[in-house]
């Protein structure tokens, strides 16, 4: 079974600075999908960024980018120019590509990000 580990329960960063959230995963599959979700105080989970394992290029969405190291099974999220609205719980997640079980996500433990003004 796949597992996802986020080793940083809490992180903080100064507004306008850059912060990196870590995520590692364990799988024997060669193709899969990785995600970062954001959960603000409203509790509504928001998809931040998605990476397909077969793509070597790191995904980028505006101020959010990932560092995907497939051999190391590492998938970190970098937030540039941090804003107060980035304060949230961030979850890393994994999904298999095929079969009925492909529809479910396996989540990490989460990292609570605080933005200091």
């Amino acid at each position: 079974a796949q597992t996802v580990t986020q080793s940083q329960p809490e992180m903080s960063v100064q507004e306008a600075e850059t912060v990196t959230l870590s995520c590692t995963y364990d799988t024997s599959e060669s193709d899969y999908y990785l995600f970062w979700y954001k959960q603000p105080p409203s509790r509504q989970m928001i998809l931040v960024i998605r990476q397909e394992a077969y793509k070597q290029q790191n995904a980028t969405e505006n101020r959010f980018s990932v560092n995907f190291q497939k051999a190391a099974k590492s998938f970190s999220l970098k937030i540039s120019d941090s804003q107060l609205g980035d304060a949230a719980m961030y979850f890393c997640a994994y999904r298999s590509p095929l079969g009925q079980g492909a529809q479910k996500l396996v989540f990490g433990q989460g990292t609570r990000l605080t933005i200091n003004p």
Binding site: Q100, K104, L105, F107
Partner: protein, 115 residues
């Protein structure tokens, strides 16, 4: 936009009560999921369903059951609530597909307290 609606934002129940958590989605999604969220443990899958009347156990199904009689509605049932089921419950839905462009849509969660 897809909307996933959970019937209650906060719920307080007594030990031994039968509890129903309801989830409704409005975009004709085949897949629906129930996750439980606990501090330090992240989200863990309880059950999921990929079609009406179909259900699959997730990673922590013990103490829970589900019902999917209509495509848009997925109910989580705690047959006899216990204090260790105090948690945040999140419902989600998605289209069935090969996965490349799928997106999971979440409800806003139900914080359940069992006293």
């Amino acid at each position: 936009d897809v909307k996933v609606t959970q019937s209650s934002r906060y719920l307080v129940k007594r030990t031994g009560e039968k509890v129903f958590l309801e989830c409704v989605q409005d975009m004709d999604h085949e897949n629906m999921f129930w996750y439980r969220q606990d501090p330090g443990l992240g989200l863990r899958l309880i059950y999921f369903s990929y079609d009406v009347k179909m259900k699959e156990k997730g990673d922590i199904p013990e103490g829970y059951s589900v019902s999917r009689e209509k495509k848009e509605r997925f109910s989580l049932i705690l047959e006899s609530a216990s204090t260790n089921q105090t948690s945040m419950y999140l419902c989600a839905s998605s289209l069935f597909g090969t996965g490349r462009n799928e997106k999971l849509f979440f409800g806003s969660g139900t914080q359940l307290s069992v006293l």
